[in-house]
């Protein structure tokens, strides 16, 4: 695994032309716009692309729309973590010579539902038989169930969960692309509409329209490209279940495995991480991920995020784009966590005051998919 570390770089990143509310574009166009802009940023063209990675739609649809016939195709689709997992898959494909330039895209019309497949669960599917009849709203109810167990086992409070939403909103206030930019307080989170106990509205991610993409190639080739290369030091992935009723433990998940593998491969420690992009579908997702990735001990996540520690100017910069809670979340978010980590490591925000994490050189990106089902972790570094 160490042989793959540091060999491949992310050389271009982009969102779709608009994000947030985009009622005039189908989901696949959001993929396409992001792909076009990410390639342009890298100084590459679609004809350079020979590795195609996406989730949510088929790579065959993506390749058809963009006019790309790949040598490597990877449709790993395990929820919002997929795009973080694609970082590792693409790095492996490039480092082993199976392809030269990898394009990873995402696009979802989550809010406007233009060009999106219908959401149906067949009644004879396992979820149709063993979960759907009981009326659990998905995915929010699933995360709420899991969170109830963390509160029971460790005394985690709603106030501690709210700390995450408040700190993340402060980052969103610095990001003109963020969907929600009004300041909020812990009391605002607690007073917001109850959705599924213990979650209130502001514990939950947004539902937006957005696309995102990034381009990867060998470090050797990256040195000649337009932007400062951001190298992939380590990556890991895992999953434990598909249905929340089958989750082995509600206070532990696949991040424990994906994070351990990523850190070992990268050869860095938690103290080396300057910036963490932690998938925030719900406040609890973040709290649990921080524990499982080893940034704090088991059950200590609530204390770890208290005192606005993850906010701008805090000693643990996290979700610096405003996250899925306040920036954008079209249904699957992982690609946007990668994009922001790359921009921070390139020092793109150096003229924007506290928006830039000072001297950011190593970032951890963590994606969670499904209902705490899957995990993908990547550790990236400024070359």
């Amino acid at each position: 695994m160490r042989a793959l570390s540091g060999k491949v770089a992310i050389v271009g990143v982009a969102e779709s032309d608009q994000i947030g509310r985009v009622p005039d574009k189908p989901a696949i166009m959001l993929h396409a716009e992001a792909a076009r802009s990410a390639l342009a940023e890298a100084g590459l063209t679609k004809d350079d692309v020979d590795g195609l990675f996406t989730a949510g739609i088929s790579t065959t649809e993506l390749g058809e729309y963009l006019g790309i016939q790949p040598t490597v195709t990877d449709n790993t689709s395990v929820g919002g973590s997929s795009f973080v997992i694609h970082v590792g898959h693409a790095a492996t494909a490039i480092a082993t010579g199976r392809c030269q330039v990898a394009l990873v895209t995402h696009g979802e019309s989550g809010r406007s539902r233009v060009g999106m497949p219908p959401r149906v669960t067949p009644p004879d599917s396992l979820r149709g038989q063993f979960e759907v009849p009981y009326g659990l709203p998905q995915p929010v109810g699933a995360y709420a169930l899991a969170c109830s167990r963390h509160m029971y086992e460790f005394g985690t409070t709603k106030e501690q969960l709210a700390e995450i939403a408040v700190a993340t909103r402060k980052w969103a206030m610095l990001n003109p692309k963020a969907y929600m930019r009004d300041p909020i307080t812990i009391q605002d989170v607690l007073n917001s509409r109850p959705i599924c106990w213990p979650f209130n509205l502001l514990d939950c991610c947004l539902v937006t329209d957005a696309g995102g993409a990034f381009v990867m190639t060998s470090l050797e080739r990256a040195r000649d490209l337009r932007r400062h290369p951001i190298v992939v030091l380590g990556f890991g992935e895992s999953h434990t279940h598909a249905m929340i009723s089958q989750m082995p433990s509600y206070t532990s998940f696949a991040a424990r495995q994906s994070g351990k593998v990523a850190f070992e491969m990268a050869g860095v420690t938690h103290d080396d991480i300057d910036l963490a992009m932690i998938y925030d579908s719900f406040t609890y997702t973040v709290l649990l991920s921080l524990e499982e990735l080893g940034f704090c001990g088991k059950g200590e996540g609530g204390a770890f995020v208290s005192g606005q520690r993850t906010a701008p100017g805090g000693d643990f910069p996290m979700n610096t784009n405003g996250g899925g809670l306040s920036y954008t979340h079209p249904g699957m978010y992982g690609v946007f966590a990668v994009i922001e980590a790359v921009r921070q490591l390139r020092h793109d925000y150096v003229d924007q005051g506290i928006r830039q994490v000072p001297d950011a050189s190593i970032a951890l990106v963590h994606g969670t998919g499904g209902v705490l089902s899957s995990a993908g972790t990547a550790i990236l570094a400024r070359y």
């Binding site: 009644p123 038989q129 009981y134 009326g135 169930l145 109850p194 009723s245």
Partner: protein
């Protein structure tokens, strides 16, 4: 014609004995005979050993609340009028967990707690389908 408007499970050949046991108000789940351990949901083989050496066994229908949520908002019209209601993960005495609803209890986090003893209530929602729901065990 049933007036039940919510999504119904459609049993498949492997899961049918489970649904039949509920219809008979005598829940059965599967046990792996190699390991002696129960498992849920029903499968065509043991998830512990991948062996066919499995059997259907009656269970007590008693357990405890392992995790729960109170649903305050559901955009699905089939459930929208029912809020608030409780969805729980129940751990049966036999060691398996399943999703269900709690009934005969206030849908309020002050009245539901993890570790609460519960027992099965057979809810005959249609002529074909009986859903397992759970209620607090009353003090005797």
């Amino acid at each position: 014609m049933s007036g039940y408007k919510k999504p119904l499970p459609k049993p498949d050949p492997v899961t049918a004995p489970y649904w039949e046991s509920l219809k008979a108000h005598a829940m059965k789940i599967q046990r792996c005979n190699d390991t002696g351990k129960f498992f849920f949901y029903p499968r065509g083989l043991s998830p512990f050993t991948l062996s066919d050496n499995i059997s259907w066994e009656p269970v007590s229908g008693r357990g405890v609340v392992h995790a729960f949520t109170i649903v305050y908002q559901n955009r699905d019209p089939a459930f929208a009028e029912d809020v608030p209601y409780v969805v729980a993960i129940v751990e049966l005495e036999e060691g398996v967990r399943l999703m269900s609803n709690l009934v005969d209890v206030e849908p309020d986090p002050e009245h539901v707690w993890i570790g609460m003893p519960v027992e099965i209530v057979y809810d005959d929602v249609t002529e074909e389908i009986t859903l397992p729901r759970f209620r607090p065990v009353r003090a005797t």
